[in-house]
Structures are given as structure tokens and as C-alpha cells.
């Protein structure tokens, strides 16, 4: 083939984006999170931060699935819950030390259910934290994406999935603890779960896990796969004609986001001390989507930022202005969606551009 159109006038030097800047910010944030926070925050507040970071892990997955892949999942709580229950079951069995967990006793269960038995093994339980969300997400993804269920249909289906799982969990009180969920934990891998040192260690663990997952997600987004994901988001049908199966791309991404949520759920349990169906429902799932939107859904950093900011805001307002929280949450959300659909990150970028422009003018 010869060049019959224009001759190239400029050789293609693959531009190096300002990567070192991103790396610098990441390191700075990591230092603050790992060194400064444990020093300046009192234990109770550090525990709260650990909780927000758990949410941030879920948000990261939502950012990936929704922001990058266009899959608005309103049922991320499902995977959070699956991870959380896997961890909770292990902790309960560990605490019970061979006896029946407390809730089974008052629920009239006489023998440890077969489903529970393997969760006494910590390795198995930890594996299930990843495997169960993965399997559910792959199964659901394969079913729905293959059939090209997408957009609003997908969103509503995931929402219904969350609602259904909550009902199912509540209905099986002897197996799941019902609405109460699993709570009253004592021992976390040999440590007193309520002890300050354990909680600090947990905080650091959550922060490190978040950092690692963030880097992984970042790499994913920058990769060809990430480009492909954007392409699927913007033109799923067209992608088929490039020789890719969009269902596979979406299922993989959805599964990754589900695994992230599962890991977050597992970390949440020792941090907060409870996992209950209410955490899996539509509302918490939606709240996290909102957080991602507030932070900026098109940037992974936005998702993480949004989760932390909204988590903090919720705590702050429920302490200071409990009656106003719903108004504030609603209003904040309306404002962000109308005025700043790209969220905090988008606003920041716009401001930076303006400052640059003025500086150069």
C-alpha cells in the first residue's frame, strides 16, 4: 500500500504524559495516609477513616465499571456483602471455638450448617472473599452482557439483585443472622479486634490494600484494555466490528469491580465490627455511586476521593446537623450532577486550566 493521501508532516513521538506528577501525588497521599494520619488522628477517628477507605475500595471498582466501562452498577453492595459475610463467618466460627455461633443458638439452629463448616478455615474464608464475588459477577455478567442487557436495564437489574439478596439474607436468620447480620467479634487472627493496636494495624492494611488496588486499576485504565473499555462504553456495537467481544470485556471489568467490593467488605468487618444486610442494599450501593459521581466518575482518583469526602461529610453532618443531612446529601448531589457532572476532579481540572490560561495570557 502506498501513501496516496497526505504525507506525514510530523513524526509520531509517543507523548510522555506528565506521569511523574501523578506518581508524586500518589506518593504524597500515601505518606499522609500511612504516616501522618495514624499520628494525628485519635483511634476513633482513625477507625472512621479506615471505614471510608473501605468504601473507597468499593468506589474504585465502581469508577472502573461505571466511569470507564459505562456499567452503572447499583448493586455493588452485593459483592461487598459477599466478601463481608465470608470474613464474618470465619470470625464467628473462630470466636465460637467449636461451638455454635451465638446467633445460631438463639435462632434455634442445633447443628452447624454445612455451608458454614469450611469457613472455619481462614485460608478458605479469605479465598472466598475473592472467589464468591468473582463467581457471582462472572455468572451474572455472562448472562446479562451476552444478551446485551445494558444501560438502564443493567442498572435496574443490579438494583433488584441487591434488593433480592437482602431479602434472602434476612429470611435465613439461622444461616445468616437475619437483619442483625453478623456481629460481636472478639478475635482477629490472634488479636483483640477492639484493641487500639489491632485497629491501627487494620487501618494500615486497608490503606495499603487500597493503594495497591489503585495502582492496579490505574495500570488497567492506561492499558490497551482500558482504551477498549472506553470504546465499549461509548460504542459497544461498534466494538464487535473491531473483532472484540464486548461481553467479555464488560464481564472482566465487572468481575474486577466485584472483587474489589468483596475485598472491601472483608476488611470492613473487623474495622467496623459488623456486617448486616442493610449494608448490601440498594441505598448504600447508590450512596457509593453518588460518592463516585461527586468525586468525579471519569477519574479513578475521583472515585476514591468521592468516597472519602462523602464518608466524612456523612459523619460530620450526622453529628453536627443530623436533620439536615438528607437535604445536604440530596442537594449536593443535585448540584454536582447539574453543575459539575465530572465531579470534584473535573472542577479542579477546569480551575487548573483557567489558571494556566490566565497565567499564559
Amino acid at each position: 500500500m502506498t501513501a496516496v493521501l497526505e504525507k506525514p508532516t510530523q513524526k509520531l513521538a509517543p507523548k510522555e504524559p506528565r506521569q511523574w506528577k501523578g506518581a508524586a501525588v500518589f506518593v504524597a497521599v500515601a505518606v499522609v495516609a500511612l504516616v501522618v494520619m495514624p499520628l494525628v488522628l485519635e483511634p476513633f477517628r482513625l477507625g472512621l477513616l479506615a471505614k471510608y477507605l473501605c468504601y473507597a475500595i468499593v468506589a474504585l471498582g465502581i469508577g472502573l465499571a461505571w466511569g470507564q466501562g459505562g456499567m452503572l452498577t447499583l448493586g455493588q453492595g452485593v459483592f461487598f456483602g459477599l466478601g463481608g459475610y465470608a470474613m464474618g463467618m470465619y470470625l464467628k466460627l473462630n470466636d465460637a471455638g467449636g461451638d455454635l455461633p451465638d446467633f445460631m443458638v438463639w435462632s434455634g439452629v442445633e447443628e452447624l450448617p454445612a455451608l458454614w463448616a469450611p469457613f472455619g478455615n481462614p485460608v478458605f474464608a479469605l479465598a472466598m472473599v475473592v472467589v464468591v464475588p468473582l463467581v457471582v459477577a462472572v455468572a451474572l455478567g455472562t448472562l446479562v452482557f451476552r444478551q446485551r442487557v445494558r444501560g438502564a436495564y443493567f442498572a435496574i437489574l443490579t438494583q433488584a439483585l441487591a434488593a433480592a439478596l437482602v431479602i434472602l439474607l434476612i429470611g435465613q436468620q439461622g444461616l445468616t443472622g437475619g437483619t442483625n447480620g453478623l456481629t460481636n467479634f472478639f478475635d482477629f487472627f490472634g488479636n483483640d479486634v477492639a484493641a487500639e493496636s489491632t485497629q491501627r494495624g487494620l487501618y494500615l492494611t486497608v490503606a495499603i490494600v487500597l493503594g495497591v488496588l489503585y495502582l492496579g486499576a490505574w495500570q488497567l485504565v492506561r492499558s490497551r484494555f482500558g482504551r477498549l473499555l472506553l470504546a465499549v462504553r461509548d460504542g459497544e456495537d461498534r466494538v464487535r466490528f473491531l473483532g472484540y467481544n464486548p461481553a467479555t470485556v464488560k464481564t472482566i471489568t465487572f468481575a474486577i469491580s466485584a472483587v474489589m467490593a468483596g475485598i472491601a467488605g472483608a476488611l470492613f468487618v473487623p474495622v467496623v465490627g459488623i456486617i448486616s444486610p442493610a449494608l448490601l442494599g440498594v441505598v448504600p450501593s447508590l450512596e457509593l455511586v453518588v460518592a463516585v459521581a461527586v468525586g468525579g466518575r471519569f477519574a479513578l482518583a475521583g472515585a476514591v476521593l468521592g468516597a472519602v469526602v462523602m464518608g466524612y461529610a456523612k459523619t460530620y453532618f450526622s453529628e453536627e446537623l443530623p436533620d439536615a443531612w438528607l437535604y445536604l446529601q440530596g442537594a449536593l448531589f443535585i448540584l454536582v450532577m447539574t453543575l459539575a457532572p465530572k465531579g470534584i476532579v473535573g472542577v479542579a481540572a477546569a480551575l487548573r486550566d483557567r489558571v494556566r490560561k490566565e497565567a499564559s495570557a
Binding site: A3, L12, R227, A231, R240, L242, G243
Partner: protein
């Protein structure tokens, strides 16, 4: 030459309307085939069926000796069938380069896509040069004009390295100069690919086509050289609109 694409007794019915009605259609390896016919004749639908976008009601499509029945869109692309669309659809959020790169990468194993793109693959560089989009390589495809998009789509098609290219009105909306260059591009592509082009521009046809198939009301009306086809009274009747077409031709030449 052997047949690369064989369409046998193909029909498709939409809500009782026969858009394709018993089409037999064969394209040999290495051919540059033009497909013309009135608006609504079923040209796009035929391509839709070949590429898996529409399911035929009856009939078969055999590509390179293999039946395409039951194969999904992306599987057909993997067999080497590439197409462009009548109204171009490119990924607006991706740069021109990234659009081309994705088109060129589908044969890689999925896991290898997890690595970042380093540099520019040869096929992409080639496609950029061929389409003259090199200067726009790092621009988002969303800012391209209609014509530039069409070129980008052709570029993506080239970068896919398909064996059979199906182009649906590639020069629609282009200025005459742009048409010429696209025509030359097609001719050069056709040297080592099999190409089917749908086009309405008779001037373009006269310059670049040899074999032409005319569809009409879902059936093949005639197949032959450009001159044979143009001379056919039925083609003039249903497609060309004899009097003015001649007049127009005379006026220009």
C-alpha cells in the same frame, strides 16, 4: 481465483417486508466489487447479514469455505471480514491513534492487552500515513469532521488487516477532490485485499470500478462491467434516471 464469499439464496424479512429476496452473490479472491442499486434496494442489509448484524431468514453465507451461520459479529471479524458503516461511528473519546491501535490489536490475546501501548504498531503507522491522519493522530476522534471520520474508519479497517473489506458509501459527503483521493486509496487497498464497495456516485464508479452488481428490491438485477450495467435499460429505469444522468454527464465532460 477462488470464491472468497459465497451468498446463496439469501432472504430477510422485516415485519413481512422482504428486504433481501433470494440473493445469490459471489465474490472472488482479490476482487474489487461495487454494489449499487436504488435507495432501499437492500445493499446495506446485505452487508449487515454478511457481518452478522442482521440474521437472514433463509439462505447461507459462506466465507472462505466456511459457513458463517451462528457466528457472532466479532467472530466474523476474526475470520477476516471488516466493514465500515454508512454513517461513520468512531470512538469519540479516544484519539485517532488509539482508535487505530484498537482496530489493529484484536488478534492479540486478551491478557496481553493489559500492558500499555508502547510506541506505534507498524500497521497503525501505515494506516495513519495511508489516510493522511498523521497530523491528527493525537486528537480525539470526536472533533473530526464528517469526512475525516470516514477516513479514520477506513484507516481502522485497514489496520484490522481483514481479508474482505466491506465499505458502505465511503465517499458520501466528500468533495470531488477528496473523492479522488479516496478512490486511489481504494485502488491501492484492492491490490492485496478483496473489497466490496457500496456507492451511489456514478462518476466515482466510472473511474474506479470494474465489476458491478446491481441490487433492486432485494434481488440481483444484473452483474457486469460498469459500461454493461450503465447501458442496461432496467438499471437506467430504476436507478440512474436516464435522461438527466446523460445530460449531467454531457454537461460535465
Amino acid at each position: 481465483m477462488t470464491a472468497l464469499l459465497e451468498v446463496r439464496d439469501l432472504s430477510v424479512v422485516f415485519d413481512g417486508f422482504r428486504a433481501i429476496d433470494g440473493v445469490d452473490f459471489t465474490v472472488q479472491n482479490g476482487e474489487l466489487r461495487f454494489l449499487i442499486g436504488p435507495n432501499g434496494a437492500g445493499k446495506t442489509t446485505l452487508i449487515d447479514i454478511i457481518t452478522g448484524l442482521t440474521k437472514p431468514t433463509t439462505g447461507s453465507v459462506v466465507f472462505d469455505g466456511r459457513s458463517l451461520a451462528g457466528k457472532r459479529e466479532h467472530e466474523r471479524v476474526r475470520l477476516g471480514i471488516g466493514r465500515t458503516f454508512q454513517t461513520s461511528v468512531v470512538f469519540e473519546e479516544l484519539t485517532v491513534l488509539e482508535n487505530l491501535d484498537l482496530a489493529a490489536s484484536f488478534r492479540r490475546p486478551l491478557w496481553s492487552l493489559l500492558a500499555r501501548r508502547k510506541g506505534v504498531i507498524a500497521a497503525v503507522e501505515q494506516a495513519l500515513e495511508t489516510t493522511g491522519l498523521t497530523d491528527l493522530a493525537s486528537r480525539k476522534a470526536g472533533v473530526l469532521s464528517h469526512g475525516q471520520r470516514q477516513w479514520l474508519e477506513i484507516g481502522m479497517l485497514i489496520a484490522q488487516g481483514p481479508r474482505l473489506l466491506l465499505l458502505d458509501e465511503p465517499v458520501a459527503g466528500m468533495s470531488s477532490d477528496e473523492r479522488s483521493r479516496t478512490g486511489e486509496l481504494l485502488t491501492s487497498i484492492a491490490k492485496d485485499h478483496t473489497v466490496i464497495v457500496i456507492e451511489h456516485d456514478m462518476e466515482f464508479l466510472r473511474r474506479y470500478a470494474s465489476q458491478v452488481t446491481v441490487l433492486h428490491e432485494g434481488k440481483v438485477l444484473i452483474e457486469g462491467s460498469v459500461d454493461e450495467v450503465r447501458a442496461d435499460p432496467r438499471v437506467q429505469e430504476v436507478y440512474l434516471g436516464r435522461a438527466r444522468e446523460e445530460a449531467a454527464h454531457d454537461a460535465v465532460s
